[in-house]
């Protein structure tokens, strides 16, 4: 049978976002705050990012994860690992499985902080054979750095965004030569110093405007087929391929709850207070927008804690909301619902093309609400932001708000 329990707040996912939310809530004394995570160790993705660059001090991922855990536990949040949330029994009640048995946990507020993952080869529809030696960065990091497994001898890395360069580091540590970084974009999307270091010091060629169109090899990968934008094709011999980036939120619980999802982010649609369209259900972190740096999601967690605390004390939940929609080449915006009492924070956007200081035009029902020139170029797979000082002009009974390039 299922053990039934009640808590004040249940946070699902003990990554930086969930832990920061829990820490903020427990510190404000809202009652019993419980965080569950299906992994044996709390900390989320940073657990297996052995490289530095996390938090303000540039710690390694595991150090950062430890800090997040300590902060949550230190404020009195209850942290339980090895506990998977597997289903919903009611709008604020979930079913869990752990080695200690089955539980049914009801909360006054549920916070989904289930994170994001990279799309694997199959989801990217890369045809060919199904050999061994095919990774995502997440799997590569765990295999090489946590489990010390043998990876291979020569790799192709698909993608040239920040996470792709961390894959290079992992491969280097594992003693794997890198044949090339391949990106369909005309340029890499990392910090220039990072890319320069890979190219000059580590001699990793960057192939731009190119796509991996086939995996070759029986048993073990023997190479990949490439196609360049101009139609040329090539074969690169390798026994390992790492598919990096192309993040997708882990939205299973959000979807199973029947929450409204945003077609751009594919995560639950939320307003500036991290409220979904399900009363009492909040969502925070990369499940909203895959994938932001850990610091950014931890900051969100702190803000979400404040929003949850407010809800627990006043019980208010918005009844009306306006959707935010983007036009190509913009891919998504988050948050993506506007509610009347929304805090006017900043919005994060993604583009699918390089744009030199784009002008954003924000309209509703044909009325221009805001026009702003970005201060920096917009780069695919990297966040750019727009302030929320225009949200007061939105008619909450009006149609969708559109964000396009002017």
């Amino acid at each position: 049978m299922r053990r039934e329990r009640i808590v004040d707040v249940l946070v699902v996912g003990a990554g930086p976002a969930g832990l920061a939310t829990a820490a903020g809530l427990a510190a404000s004394g809202v009652g019993e705050v419980e965080v569950v995570d299906r992994e044996r160790q709390a900390g989320g993705i940073p657990r297996h990012c052995l490289h530095g660059g996390f938090g303000r001090l540039g710690m390694t991922g595991p150090q950062y994860a430890e800090r997040c855990v300590a902060a949550a536990v230190g404020t009195g949040a209850v942290l339980r690992t090895g506990v998977s949330v597997t289903a919903w029994a009611a709008p604020l009640t979930v079913d869990t499985t752990s080695p200690r048995g089955l539980e049914r946990i009801t909360a006054r507020a549920v916070v989904l902080a289930t994170g994001a993952r990279e799309r694997p080869r199959a989801a990217r529809l890369v045809p060919g054979t199904r050999p061994a030696g095919v990774y995502t960065t997440g799997e590569l990091q765990q295999a090489a750095d946590l489990h010390r497994q043998r990876i291979g001898t020569r790799a192709v890395v698909v993608g040239a965004e920040p996470v792709s360069f961390t894959a290079l580091d992992t491969l280097r540590r594992a003693g794997v030569a890198v044949a090339a970084l391949v990106t369909e974009h005309p340029r890499h999307q990392a910090r220039p110093a990072r890319a320069l270091d890979a190219r000059l010091r580590h001699k990793v060629p960057l192939l731009t405007d190119a796509t991996v169109v086939e995996l070759v090899g029986r048993g073990r990968l023997s190479g990949v087929g490439l196609r360049h934008r101009d139609g040329r094709t090539a074969h690169v011999a390798c026994d390992t391929v790492v598919f990096t980036g192309d993040f997708v939120p882990d939205h299973e619980l959000a979807r199973r709850a029947g929450l409204l999802l945003d077609p751009g982010t594919r995560g639950p649609a939320v307003d500036g207070a991290f409220r979904t369209d399900g009363r009492g259900v909040f969502a925070v972190g990369n499940v909203l927008h895959a994938a932001e740096p850990a610091r950014a999601v931890a900051r969100e967690g702190t803000l979400a804690a404040e929003a949850v605390r407010r809800y627990l004390s006043d019980g208010d939940w918005p009844s009306a909301a306006v959707r935010l929609r983007v036009a190509a080449p913009l891919a998504w915006i988050a948050p993506n619902r506007l509610t009347p009492d929304d805090p006017t924070g900043a919005f994060t956007l993604r583009t699918t093309e390089f744009l030199a200081r784009p002008t954003l035009v924000i309209t509703q029902d044909g009325r221009t609400l805001h026009r702003t020139r970005a201060r920096r170029p917009a780069v695919p797979n990297r966040p750019f932001r727009v302030a929320g000082d225009w949200t007061g002009r939105v008619d909450v009974r009006g149609g969708a708000v559109r964000i396009a390039l002017g």
Partner: protein, 471 residues
């Protein structure tokens, strides 16, 4: 219990040797094992059972309603369906009797339905009936626009092909069959009353021989001097959509067959996914199990027309299987009395369904060639681990977890596979020969993240399990 992956074959004279441990070969071995006292070997070139066509099909337990009436295939599919349905219930092989709708999208297809209804009746399947457009839509609310009608075939089911092959193999091995993996038969010669098989692991002697080598049944047949048929691989590429798409479809949605072939279906899987495929491509390379950009694109286009909302769903896997087609629209099963040899060739696109009936048929043919069959016994039933979603999985069972907490420890999150299940698979009578084999037994790393979360951990468990000397 003997499953070996290396070393020379035992120096004994087997009564019967079955070449090929696909769903057909394992079924034959299991059937032979019922005759206690026979020494049976099952030899397989790959490092696991079911590594050939049997691992990559559409997983439908057919009624045979659309077979060629009067053919051997028609009879064996019909009998096989009945046998496997009962066997699955006994063994815990996941089966879901979802039923099929053959949906007509144009006038020509609609006009073909009454003929198919009549064909079904001639195949001894009386339960089919015609549905009008409104009824079709009521039954399948997410169907794309334009469905004009359908033939309802309530007896069609979806099944787990991996557990099926594994159940046969497990039962065979437990009943004393020697399963020799990594053991390719390369030549066959005659030594008195015996066949002498040259295998990649050394010589093996056997009095009777069954050729269930799937795509290579013609090659093995030629080793015995027969040139009766040639197997032409017909590739089928398939797409598996995410479990979150499962609510979009209730039945197996079959196309109305046309002159151009059987066409593309959309079906639920017993694992809770949605399957789209297969293509039909005539090839000459029996190893061409890769997928192609054109194949995938064509499938998606068709699938999105049948079920438009599939378009927004994530894809979990893409794979291809090769049907063993010959130049005849029927199985090519024949006995060669003087050679104490039975060929089981051309088991095209229905072999999973027909497997148990093929096994019974082949055993009869063996008896006809002179094999002395001891009285059959019902073997000790097997109870296979459940990897289907329609039945409680270990992570949902408080009783199991209370008795053994390893069933509460989820390792593969997308498919909710527990450490206990992985441990059991590694210690089973027929342990996996690779992480992929472990996936087919447990679903570990077969889900939407394809290993992003659990890949390294599953590999670790596999390697540790394999080290413990199971194979």
């Amino acid at each position: 219990m003997a499953v070996t992956r290396r070393g020379v074959p035992p120096d004994v004279a087997y009564d019967v040797t079955v070449i090929g441990a696909g769903v057909v070969g394992t079924a034959v071995a299991r059937e032979l094992a019922r005759h206690v006292g026979l020494r049976v070997a099952l030899v397989e070139a790959a490092d696991d059972v079911g590594e050939g066509t049997s691992k990559a099909n559409t997983a439908i337990l057919h009624t045979g309603f659309d077979a060629v009436p009067g053919s051997l295939e028609s009879r064996l599919v019909r009998e096989g369906q009945r046998l496997l349905t009962a066997y699955a219930a006994e063994s815990g092989i996941p089966v879901e009797p979802v039923g099929a709708l053959l949906v007509a999208w144009d006038g020509e297809q609609l006009a073909a339905l009454p003929g198919l209804l009549e064909k079904a009746e001639r195949n001894g399947y009386p339960a089919a009936r015609l549905l009008g457009p409104a009824e079709v839509r009521a039954r399948e609310p997410h169907l794309g626009p334009g469905a004009l009608g359908a033939l309802d075939v309530p007896g069609e089911s979806v099944i787990c092909p991996w557990t099926t092959t594994l159940a046969y193999a497990t039962q065979a091995v437990r009943s004393g069959v020697d399963l020799l993996l990594n053991c390719r038969v390369e030549a066959v010669s005659q030594a008195g009353e015996s066949h002498l098989l040259s295998t990649s692991r050394g010589p093996l002697r056997t009095r009777y021989l069954v050729n269930a080598a799937g795509l290579h049944a013609d090659t093995v047949d030629r080793l015995l001097g027969h040139d009766a048929f040639t197997v032409t691989p017909r590739r089928g590429q398939l797409i598996v959509y995410d479990k979150l798409a499962r609510d979009l479809v209730r039945h197996i949605l079959l196309p109305v067959p046309t002159a151009l072939g059987k066409g593309v279906l959309v079906a639920p899987t017993v694992y809770g996914n949605v399957l789209l495929g297969p293509t039909a491509e005539e090839l000459d390379d029996k190893t061409a199990t890769g997928t192609t950009a054109e194949g995938i694109a064509a499938l998606r286009e068709k699938g999105h027309r049948i079920l438009p909302e599939l378009h927004d769903e994530e894809i979990t896997a893409v794979y291809a299987g090769l049907r063993a087609a010959t130049d005849q629209d029927d199985y090519r099963i024949s006995a060669h009395k003087e050679q104490r040899y039975v060929t089981v060739g051309g088991i095209r696109s229905t072999g999973l369904t027909a497997s148990l009936a093929i096994a019974a048929h082949v055993t009869e043919l063996l008896a006809g060639t002179g094999l002395d069959l001891p009285e059959p016994h019902d073997p000790e039933p097997v109870r296979m681990p459940n990897i289907g979603e329609a039945f409680p999985r270990p992570y949902q069972r408080a009783d199991l977890i209370a008795a053994d907490p390893a069933y509460g420890e989820i390792v593969c999150h997308c498919e909710r596979v527990t450490r206990g299940e992985i441990r059991d698979a590694l210690a089973a009578a027929v342990p996996p020969g690779s992480p992929d084999g472990l996936r087919r037994r447990t679903r570990a790393r077969g889900g939407r993240c394809q290993g992003f979360y659990c890949g390294a951990e599953v590999r670790e468990l596999y390697e540790r399990g394999a080290e413990m000397g199971t194979g």
